[in-house]
């Protein structure tokens, strides 16, 4: 830049101008800034010396409002990290994002992984990048001490919890009970154990189009499966925050913790003896369901002057090279691409292995049923928190949720 200022304009060749293309990337992953800056970005800049990448994240809980304001005032970054559903759908509606249709690399992804960033017609607006999953971490040392085996069915799961409880030395299962963190009971609770009962994505679609109700047996069973944890949770559960729950497990005071793959580094630090298992099934031999949540993708700001370079970068995000680098440097975040990758982190690999032989599914309710008031997410998280901290049963919780949907969601309205 400084050199070009000293040289007469006529001497600047086109390549020198191209050398100054700077792409800014906005993100809510402030924790990962160092990894982007030191590892991921240099890989790309080395192969594309004409591009300079700047990773400029904002804190996660400010990201949504900050980004929509910056989009409105045309000061947003060239590349923005896309949240699944919510904010991204609003940005698409207001034409702030460039469609990524036909971009090479997009064929590496399933339709499933594109739907959280597509408009009503199915046109994709973000390149899917990373997914996360939910499941159970277990302390192998405690399992060995109490001679327990990893449970596969709901009955085995309750049996294991019962044995740990009887022994009395450890909290059998930690989850999040504090209402401020009640998102966890949804994503790391209902959406973890539920898909098996409501048959994955089909169950979500059936609710979306009003063919089934939340009070139907398959959804009630999901609520009841979550409610079955109640006797095994830590004391004073209603005050256990998400980080309290993690601490209890890390300190070895709890045998099993329900958490996300994104916590691999904290929950299974090097030298620990921690394993992972997925949601239990009701009948032995049934195929398990594994939740894969599209966590982030990247989209192009429609107002960015460098559309061509931005598209090139998005294509790189779809490659195996980037996927491999992401999976190894951010353990617990998995590339959404269909390409097979291997991961150095043992526990992160165990998370990925959960998907083998399982039916992959996305959380339900997050799209259409979140567009009105009161939205699915607020109602569900609140109800799950009440259900897990009081005597409310799964059936009652499901009935309340259905009542709330009937109050505004057209396909579910009483005819």
């Amino acid at each position: 830049m400084s050199i070009s200022l000293l040289v007469p304009a006529s001497l600047i060749t086109t390549s020198a101008v191209a050398a100054t293309t700077t792409l800014t990337i906005d993100s809510w992953r402030t924790d990962d800034a160092k990894i982007w800056k030191d590892i991921l970005i240099p890989i790309y800049e080395k192969a594309n010396p004409n591009v300079k990448l700047v990773f400029a994240p904002s804190p996660s809980n400010e990201y949504d409002s900050a980004l929509s304001l910056r989009m409105k005032s045309k000061t947003a970054a060239d590349i923005v990290m896309c949240r699944p559903y919510g904010l991204t759908k609003a940005l698409i509606k207001d034409k702030h994002l460039t469609p990524v249709t036909g971009l090479p690399g997009l064929q590496n992804f399933t339709k499933q992984s594109q739907q959280s960033w597509a408009d009503a017609k199915g046109v994709p607006y973000c390149m899917p990048v990373a997914s996360v999953g939910a499941g159970f971490y277990y302390n192998k040392n405690i399992f060995k001490e109490l001679k327990l085996t990893v449970p596969k069915t709901q009955a085995e799961f309750i049996g294991v919890l019962e044995k740990i409880k009887k022994n009395g030395k450890y909290t059998p299962l930690v989850a999040t009970g504090l209402s401020a963190d009640s998102w966890a009971l949804d994503q790391l609770g209902l959406q973890l154990v539920g898909p098996y009962y409501w048959k994955g994505d089909a169950g979500g679609v059936a609710l979306d189009n009003g063919k089934r109700k939340v009070t139907d047996p398959e959804y009630v069973a999901a609520f009841e499966a979550l409610a079955s944890w109640k006797p095994y949770l830590p004391k004073a559960f209603s005050s256990v925050s998400y980080s309290d729950a993690e601490q209890l497990f890390i300190l070895g005071r709890a045998a099993i913790a329900v958490d996300g793959s994104w916590s691999v580094k904290e929950m299974a630090p090097p030298g620990s003896n921690v394993g992972v298992f997925g949601a239990p099934v009701a009948k032995a031999g049934d195929k398990p369901y594994v939740q894969v949540l599209a966590d982030f993708g990247f989209g192009i700001n429609a107002a960015s002057p460098s559309q061509v370079e931005a598209k090139k970068l998005l294509t790189w995000f779809s490659t195996k090279e980037f996927g491999q680098a992401l999976a190894n440097n951010l353990p617990g975040f998995f590339p959404l691409s269909k390409e097979k990758i291997s991961i150095d982190n043992k526990t992160a690999q165990a998370w990925l292995n959960l998907r083998d032989g399982a039916i992959v599914t996305a959380p339900i309710g997050m799209d259409k049923m979140n567009t009105g008031t009161p939205n699915w997410f607020s109602v569900t998280t609140n109800l799950l928190n009440v259900m897990m901290t009081t005597k409310m049963t799964g059936k009652q919780a499901a009935a309340e949720l259905q009542k709330s949907l009937e109050s505004w969601y057209p396909p579910q309205k009483k005819k």
């Binding site: 949504d64 929509s68 009440v386």
Partner: protein, 287 residues
């Protein structure tokens, strides 16, 4: 005379401009946008929705009741305690280090709300702290607990108010009473309290305004959907959630402005009623 008026205007102009720009203008523009919905004039529709929609009106009423509870607990604990502290500091019974105690009692006020919330949450945590009961997790105790944290933090402000009012009482009155043989308790109730009555009134109304604008400690502890089951939801958090959104909710600026307008009128009404009925009679006893 005319010149004097011009001078007055000149000297108040900066403060007036500041006040108009940062208090009056935002207030009026809030009321203005509360009549719109996505840039279309809708009249009172936002307000009708707030008061008649089942979900919205329930939240609004509960938030209002929680604010009343917040105010009643705060006023009934903060004021007497602050008065006792100020009385003790000015009584002459604390012979040494009066300013040390005064500073000590004022320190929590200078702390960040986030720190206060964090420290108290750890202290009362059943897992790591000293209380074996989920105070913040039970709907019945959650709001009183948060109120007490806030009372603890802001105790210093009414204390300093009352302290300065108490030391302003001329010592000859007290001495005269002592010569007449009045006990300390009698002096306190019959002489000091009547003389600082207007300050007590002002503190009450300030507590009313603070608690009805209350937001920060609840948001710091419980986020934008303050549970359990909305048990700690106040007007401030309701406004935040409506205006900025929370979780999957992206927020609605016009509805949020309507909520803010409702809060403004609640506070305006409360303050007016108070000044019209109580404060006018709370004249300091004539010396």
């Amino acid at each position: 005379m005319r010149r004097r008026r011009r001078q007055l205007l000149l000297f108040t102009a900066p403060a007036l401009a500041f006040f108009l720009l940062f208090a009056v203008f935002p207030l009026l523009s809030t009321i203005y946008i509360s009549f719109y919905q996505e840039d279309v004039f809708v009249g009172l529709q936002n307000f009708v929705f707030l008061f008649t929609n089942d979900e919205a009106s329930e939240r609004l009423i509960y938030a209002f009741l929680h604010n009343c509870q917040f105010f009643l607990i705060a006023a009934s604990i903060q004021l007497p305690t602050a008065l006792c502290m100020a009385a003790l500091l000015t009584s002459g019974r604390v012979r040494r280090m009066t300013s040390f105690y005064r500073t000590l009692l004022f320190i929590p006020t200078t702390l960040s709300v986030v720190i206060v919330g964090f420290i108290w949450r750890l202290i009362i945590s059943p897992l790591w702290g000293i209380v074996d009961y989920p105070l913040l997790g039970e709907p019945a105790t959650a709001l009183p607990t948060i109120t007490l944290m806030s009372v603890w933090q802001y105790m210093g402000i009414p204390m300093v108010f009352l302290y300065s009012a108490l030391i302003a009482i001329p010592s000859n009155i007290i001495e005269a009473a002592q010569v007449d043989g009045a006990s300390d308790l009698r002096i306190f109730f019959r002489i000091k309290i009547p003389l600082i009555a207007p300050q007590i009134g002002i503190i009450t109304i300030l507590t009313f305004i603070w608690t009805f604008n209350g937001f920060d400690i609840i948001y710091a502890l419980n986020g934008g959907m303050p549970g359990p089951d909305y048990a700690t939801d106040v007007l401030g958090t309701l406004f935040y959630r409506t205006f900025f959104g929370w979780g999957a909710d992206l927020g609605n600026q016009n509805l949020g402005a309507a909520t803010a307008t409702v809060i403004f009128f609640i506070i305006l009404l409360g303050t007016t009623v108070y000044f019209a009925t109580v404060q006018r009679r709370l004249k300091a006893s004539q010396l």
